[in-house]
Amino acid sequence: MSVTYNFGFMDEHAKKEVRRSILKAISIPGYQVPYSSREMPMGRGFGTGGLQITLSLIGADETLKVIDQGSDDSVNAVNLRQFVELTCPGVNTTTHLNEATLIQSRHRIPEVPLTPNQTLVLQVPYPDPLVVVEPSEDKRKVMHGEADYARLLVKLYEDIVKFDEITISHRYPTRINGHYVIDPSPIPRWDVPKLHNSPALILFGAGREKKIYAVPPHTKAEPLAFDDVPFRVESFNDAQGNRRPCERCGATDSFLDEYINEDGSKRYQCSDSDYCDTVLAETKEAANA
């Protein structure tokens, strides 16, 4: 028995709605465009918002890369990649960033800068940064429209008073094009500067909350900060103040994941597995030259 799917699983009307929403999202940078998120054959929370964008964009001449927390090989990334392979015959998939035309990711933006011909789709669990200060969506929509983020800034500042620094590790509120503040999805602070003046279009899909938003290329993206407490990315320095290298490839310019060895000691390795592989291959090549 064979089951025939429409190319890209979704019907053409559903794709058209997502496509129209994306054009409005690009035209109003950072604004959460509502759309009627469809049921997908996996639970919401498994990247269905990102997946609906990917399936609405993808064509037979596409090369797709799927990343989950920096890795192409995690169960979530493999499942999403296999779903696309099943429903989009002719589409190529890759783990190499430089081969990809479309990249769907959760929790990370690749270390190597994207190119203008690539599009990054980020999966978003919680799209609205104002939820922490305002429960009513109607009121939040007015606040966003007026770019009224006074209460959000007060909340951030309370954090600073309590902990002496901004403690947000992921989902750092970021102002786009001087107006809307977005939840940039659960990327670490390390990745937030990559949103600013990006060479590539970045799209955000929240399936459960039924929202799509965008950071167009070459657009201002400013993490919220204060004069006395500037925004800082994570530090990977050791106790002596030296930058820790990745234990596998030796890179000193990547976001590192921390692992605990059996003896209790700590080990640091690139979170972006494709970047780690690339640096490792270059190091070997240089050694053999």
Binding site: L23, V33, L57, L201, T219
Partner: protein, 182 residues
């Protein structure tokens, strides 16, 4: 013997529209950048973006009754339609939907036919999607459109987004794009 896939004109096939959409998306993400579509830009853009969930005002009667029926879209006045199709050579005599502060995506998408992008009046674009500044030339666009656009887009986030259509080519001017005359 008839083959369904070949019987449907390419413009109405999902693969053609997927490809055209990606070019339209690139056009919106890079205001002023010219994208050359595979078919007539007017009809292919409509076929790619419209369906029964949308409405259109065909101000100057640029689409045939047959194509309009194929789009399965609703006719609406230019003041309320999601998409407004007009001859860019003629000055606008209406105010399109601008959306609201809470729902600015309700601002209309204007589809304007022009003569060419390689000749005519020069403009300098800046804003999101433009790395610094981008120079464009527009032939066959009545300057009144740009004057009206200024006032329609004066209160961001409300405003209109424009797609210019010249033969097979398209260029997008989202509401965030700043346009300076030469």
């Amino acid at each position: 013997m008839s083959n369904l896939a070949t019987a449907i004109p390419t413009i109405w096939q999902p693969h053609t529209q997927q490809h055209a959409y990606r070019q339209l998306m690139q056009a919106f993400a890079n205001p002023g950048q010219i994208e050359a579509l595979s078919e007539d830009a007017l009809l292919l853009t409509l076929a790619t973006l419209l369906d029964g969930a949308t409405s259109i005002a065909d101000v100057h009667g640029l689409i045939s009754a047959l194509d309009l029926a194929r789009l399965e879209t609703a006719n609406e006045p230019a003041e309320t339609a999601h998409f407004v199709l007009a001859d860019g050579a003629q000055a606008p005599v209406f105010t399109p939907s601008l959306g609201t502060l809470e729902s600015p995506e309700g601002g209309a998408t204007l589809l304007l036919t022009v003569t060419a992008f390689n000749d005519g009046a020069s403009y300098t674009l800046s804003g999101p999607g433009v790395d610094g500044a981008r120079n464009v030339t527009l032939q066959g666009l009545n300057p009144a459109w740009l004057d009206s656009r200024e006032s329609w887009n004066a209160a961001f986030p409300m405003g209109v987004d424009i797609v210019l259509l010249a033969g097979k080519q398209v260029m997008a001017l989202p509401r965030t794009t700043r346009i300076k005359g030469a």
